[in-house]
Point group: C2
Chain length 334, copies 2
């Protein structure tokens, strides 16, 4: 008899436990709000190119942090090399597994359009981050405003040179984001700093050795050169090496781009004065948020039933930070 | 004896219920993830001007939808009139209550800066939506790219006129967002549609009667006028009235702005052919998301401890939708 009642009690206990936990699973019935969250079966994928380079680490960290907040899974894929065909192959493999969403940084603004559009037509949400794609159906682009980043570099250069002197630029003249950085820099100097002049623009080919040679050549052609703005992530280190070789370190003001370890070391040593850090964490974090909202139909059209209104912000300027000796330790610690 | 065991069973049941529900309350201990959510004590405030007009409804709906998802409270405040001093007073009253965050659409790009900066220095997160403020410390601006909106209006006008003819513009020539819409329109016509010409730009003063008079005057000066682009929310209705009075409805192509009821009615009747709907829901929704992330320290610096990196995207282009007879019902149904 006692045993039977004990079993009975246990049965009640299990039933109550079931009731209590089921509250958690059906928030709409119980009136409980569980916030924004998905399930671990939902997998979102980030696709890059040259997947091993430092630059993507911040993007992936933001992507992962958002996934943790939203209780979903992420994966990271990309071409190992700077190879368009390889990136397309990787993207096609990712699409074939029908993930909950894909965030892509496109190596080329034209060649990925059809692959992306096919995936979107098949119902897979896609956003672009860092580097966009022309005429694609991707829902949003989350990236640096490169013109404004160039303008910010110009203001920094002006404050360091006292607004006077000759300035050189080393860039990748055939790549859109670098053209924009160069234009923003040149226009800002021309319009706001009459004591300064951009005397030369060279092609550093995104290569440390080529950029060093171009910087050396600039320093020989313009012996009184006040500063060099280098628009890519690698060339700034070469420019720093040129300043060292010519014993102009500290005197020649250098503004670099991105936060590669070599660049940060040279900022600590005073060879490079500043570098433009992009909002990589923001790119990854808000890419995942956007994909999550698309996957769950939590966009304007989903909420408001106005099916024709645009579901997401079309462009997000993820912002920049000017890294100097004062705050460089924040970036090295990461 | 039986009763005692029943009480005992009830006691076990209550304890198990407590255990099961407490799992829900301490996700970090139990390993459960509760997603992004706040508490109903957290109040976020939206502040506008001319608070009663239709335009803000979509913004507020987005703000409220995000609050529901995140389980937080919202309030709506604003000056009743188009009165800068009144908006400043309302904003100061809101700040005095120290809410969890404030989203402001600023009536004037200069005069609200110091009030906003003081609140941010006091630790209250602020973002701007719809209309920005120069040199403020607000974390982000979520708004239409007005230049691009003007360009989109130009493409629409060109497709309706077959890329030929004289076009007039009615605008507010002294207000920045209207200047940008006008510039985007004019530049697109000049660069891409050699068969079209913007022959006149008039000041409609954001007023239905003034805009009607200016439209009538345009139709008298240029009897063969092919189209009018009206850049504000109210004037388009006056332009429609002018087309009706001159019996040019349908023949004169009109592109208006925003989705006031009068404009939507004229689209249904075929008097106005298209209007540019702004991404108001996105402005409100992502404003609240950003404020929530600031309040909870869920930004790049909060997650990654890189305290100097910029916490949020600096600018969000909330997108536009071209509303025509085909999709106007989506906007009326709201």
């Amino acid at each position: 008899m006692r045993k039977l009642i004990f079993v009975y009690a246990l049965f009640i206990a299990c039933f109550v436990f079931y009731l209590a936990t089921s509250l958690r699973e059906s928030p709409s019935d119980s009136g409980l709000n569980l916030g924004l969250q998905g399930s671990m079966e939902e997998k979102y994928v980030m696709v890059t190119f040259q997947a091993g380079i430092d630059y993507w680490k911040g993007c992936l960290k933001g992507f992962e942090d958002a996934a943790e907040s939203l209780n979903v899974s992420v994966a990271y894929r990309g071409s190992t090399r700077y190879d368009l065909q390889e990136q397309i192959t990787v993207l096609e493999q990712v699409i074939a597994k029908r993930p909950a969403g894909i965030a892509i940084s496109a190596m080329n603004p034209d060649e990925l359009t059809s692959t992306i559009n096919k995936a979107i037509e098949a119902g897979i949400p896609i956003v672009l981050f860092d580097s966009g794609v022309m005429n694609s159906k991707a829902y949003s682009l989350l990236a640096t405003n490169n013109y404004e980043a160039g303008a910010a570099a110009a203001h920094k250069m002006a404050s360091m040179t006292g607004g006077h002197g000759q300035i050189g630029i080393i860039t990748l003249p055939y790549q859109l984001n670098h053209q924009e950085r160069t234009e923003g820099f040149k226009a800002t100097i021309a319009q706001q700093y009459p004591g300064m002049e951009v005397v030369d623009v060279r092609n550093g080919k995104g290569d440390q050795v080529v950029s060093r040679q171009e910087a050396l050549s600039l320093l020989e052609t313009y012996p009184g050169l006040s500063g060099i703005f280098n628009t890519d992530a690698i060339g700034g280190i070469g420019v720093g090496e040129a300043a060292l070789r010519k014993e102009r370190q500290g005197g020649l003001k250098i503004v670099a781009f991105d936060t590669d370890k070599g660049t940060l070391d040279m900022i600590q040593n005073g060879v490079i004065q500043a570098t433009v850090a992009q909002g990589t964490w923001n790119m990854g974090y808000w890419s995942l948020q956007f994909l999550f909202h698309l996957h769950h139909g939590l966009t304007g059209s989903g909420y408001s039933k106005a099916s024709s209104s645009y579901p997401l912000p079309v462009y997000v300027d993820t912002g920049i930070t000017m890294v100097t000796r004062e705050n460089v330790s924040d970036y090295i610690a990461k």
